[in-house]
Assembly symmetry: C2
Homo-oligomer: 305 residues x 2
C-alpha cells in the first residue's frame, strides 16, 4: 500500500513562462485520485506524472480564475473521446457548468458519461464528501472572487486483530471482533479488562491534507487547519511585496508560514509562485524563518503526507 | 528582411500525449504575425518559439472544436494581465465571443483592450482582410461543423527604381516614378519605349500560404489553392484508414497529396496527426508517392514559403 501523497502538476501563478504549469495537483489518498484545480495543460502534466486520467472520479475547483480551471474543458473532452462511462463529480463554485455548456453548444458536442456538478456556495466550511474512507471539507478563503480551499481527512480504519492474542482469550466470539477492531477493550465475563492494544496491532493515525489557494493572509482559516499533516498554502509573493499581495488577494511566503505555525501543521508546502521570482528557493528560505518544515514545491514532484 | 515563413506551434489532433501540441501556427508575412488556430498550451509554445505575444494583432480560428481554440482564453487573459492596449481582431465562426464572455462573466473579469470578433458564416470564399500588404481569404472546408481554411497572399509591392538608369533618361520627372514603380514602361516624347525592366530592379514574386484544417477530402477547394507557394493540409490518418477519415471529417496523407497535386502548389506541409501513428515520417512517405515536395511538420519547426 502506498501512503497518501500529493503530486504537484503545476504551481505557477497566472503569467505564462517557458515552463508554465498553473495550479493543479493530484492527492492520492486511500486509493482515491482527487484532482485539485486544473490549469491549462493539466492533462499533459497528468501523462508526464504517469497518472491514468481515468482513475480520477472527483475534481475540486477552488475558484473560477483561469489559472485554476482553463485545463478542465480539455480533460472533459478527452474523457468523451476515450469513451468514459464512469461518473465524474466536479465540485466548484457556480458558473463552471454554464461555461462548459457554452463550449459544448458551439462545438455541437455532447458529454455522454455521467457528469455531476456539485455547486459550492457556502461561506462557511462544509463537509462535501464522505466516501471511500475519506472525508472532505471546504475551507472558505479570502480572495478576489468566491474561493474555497479543501481539507481532506482519511477516516479512521478498523484496526487489524492480533489473532494470536485474541485466540488466547477463549470466550471472545467472532461477533465481538467488530468492537475490538473499532478500538474497544474487551471485558471478560469475570469483569477483567483485556486492553485493546493487546488484541490489535498498532495502527497508523489517519492523515490529513489541506489545500489553500488562492487567498490573502487569513488567520481565521487556522481553525480548520489545526494539526493537519500537510498544508499547501499559496505564496505568490516574497514578503517585500506584502502590500501588493494583499491588494491582489494573495499571500507572501512569511504569511503562509504564519498560518502553518498558527495551525500547528506538520509540514508546509508553498506554491502559486509569481513568475517575477524565478528562484523559488527564496520563498522557502523566507518561510523557514517562521516555520522550519517548509518546502517550495516543484512541478511533477511528489510529497508525502 | 526575413522572408515569409510558417512556425508550427502544434500539429497534433485531439487526443493528448506526452508531447501534445494541438493545432496552432504563426504565419510571419510582410512583418505581420498572424496566429492561426490556438489549441491548449499555445501561449507556452509561443514563448518556446521566441515569439513575443504582443506582436500578434490578428487571430484566425478555423472552427470550434477544442483542439483548435481551447488555448485562446488563456492568451486573452494574459494580454489583460500584461496591460495590452492595442486592438486585437479574432476571425472565427459564431459562438466564440459567447464562450469568451461566459468565462469572463464568472471570473468577474473584463477585457479592457479593444477586442473585435469578426464572425465568419459564409459558405463561399470571401476576402476577410486587406491590410499591411497582405490579403486574406477564407477557404470553405468540409468538416463535422462549420470550418474555414485561410489563404494568405502577399500583395504585389511597388518595384524599386534603378535610379542610375532612370537618371539617364533626362525627361523622366518625379511624378512619373509612381507608374514606373507599378511596373509600367516609360514612353518618351519621341515615342520611344523604355522598358520597365531597364528602370527598375527585379522583384520577388508575391508569396502565398494556405491553411486547410480540419477537412475531409474535398477537391473543390483546389480552385482556391491554385499555384500557392505553400499548402498546409491536414492528414489525420494514414491511407489504410481512409474510410474512418471520411466518417470523422478528416483526410489521409494520400488525400492531402492529391489536393496538393490537383492545385499545383509548390510545397505541401502535413499536420493534425492522430496519436495512433507515432511515426509521422510514415505520413510523409505515403504522401510523397503522389506529391513529392511534402514535409510532415514538427512542433516548433519553421518552414519557408
Amino acid at each position: 500500500m502506498i501512503n497518501s501523497n500529493i503530486i504537484i502538476l503545476g504551481c505557477n501563478s497566472s503569467l505564462p513562462t517557458r515552463n508554465f504549469h498553473p495550479t493543479s495537483q493530484i492527492l492520492y489518498m486511500r486509493e482515491n485520485y482527487f484532482l485539485i484545480d486544473c490549469g491549462e495543460g493539466t492533462q499533459v502534466q497528468l501523462i508526464k506524472a504517469k497518472i491514468k486520467i481515468n482513475k480520477i472520479d472527483n475534481i475540486f475547483i477552488s475558484h473560477l480564475h483561469g489559472d485554476h480551471y482553463f485545463g478542465l474543458i480539455g480533460i472533459l473532452s478527452t474523457y468523451q473521446l476515450l469513451g468514459r462511462k464512469k461518473k465524474l463529480n466536479i465540485f466548484s463554485p457556480k458558473g463552471l457548468k454554464n461555461i462548459i455548456n457554452e463550449h459544448l453548444k458551439w462545438s455541437k458536442s455532447k458529454i455522454t458519461y455521467p457528469l455531476k456538478f456539485i455547486i459550492l456556495s457556502s461561506k462557511k466550511s462544509e463537509k462535501i464528501y464522505d466516501k471511500n474512507n475519506v472525508n472532505i471539507y471546504t475551507i472558505p478563503l479570502k480572495h478576489k472572487i468566491y474561493t474555497n480551499g479543501f481539507l481532506f481527512k482519511e477516516k479512521k480504519k478498523l484496526k487489524n486483530l492480533n489473532i494470536e492474542n485474541v485466540n488466547k482469550i477463549k470466550e471472545i466470539k467472532i461477533s465481538d471482533y467488530i468492537n475490538i477492531k473499532k478500538g474497544k477493550d474487551y471485558i471478560k465475563k469475570n469483569g477483567t479488562k483485556i486492553p485493546n492494544k493487546y488484541l490489535t496491532f498498532k495502527q497508523q493515525k489517519p492523515l490529513s491534507y489541506a489545500f489553500c489557494s488562492d487567498t490573502s493572509y487569513y488567520p481565521k482559516i487556522s481553525k480548520y487547519l489545526k494539526n493537519v499533516d500537510l498544508l499547501y498554502h499559496e505564496s505568490t509573493f516574497l514578503h517585500k511585496d506584502n502590500i501588493l499581495a494583499y491588494k491582489r488577494g494573495h499571500s507572501t511566503s512569511i504569511e503562509a508560514a504564519k498560518i502553518a505555525k498558527l495551525s500547528n501543521v506538520k509540514k508546509l508546502l508553498l506554491g502559486h509562485f509569481s513568475c517575477r521570482f524565478p528562484n523559488i528557493k527564496k520563498f522557502e528560505k523566507e518561510a523557514k524563518k517562521i516555520f522550519n518544515n517548509t518546502i517550495a514545491t516543484k512541478s511533477l514532484n511528489n510529497y508525502n503526507l
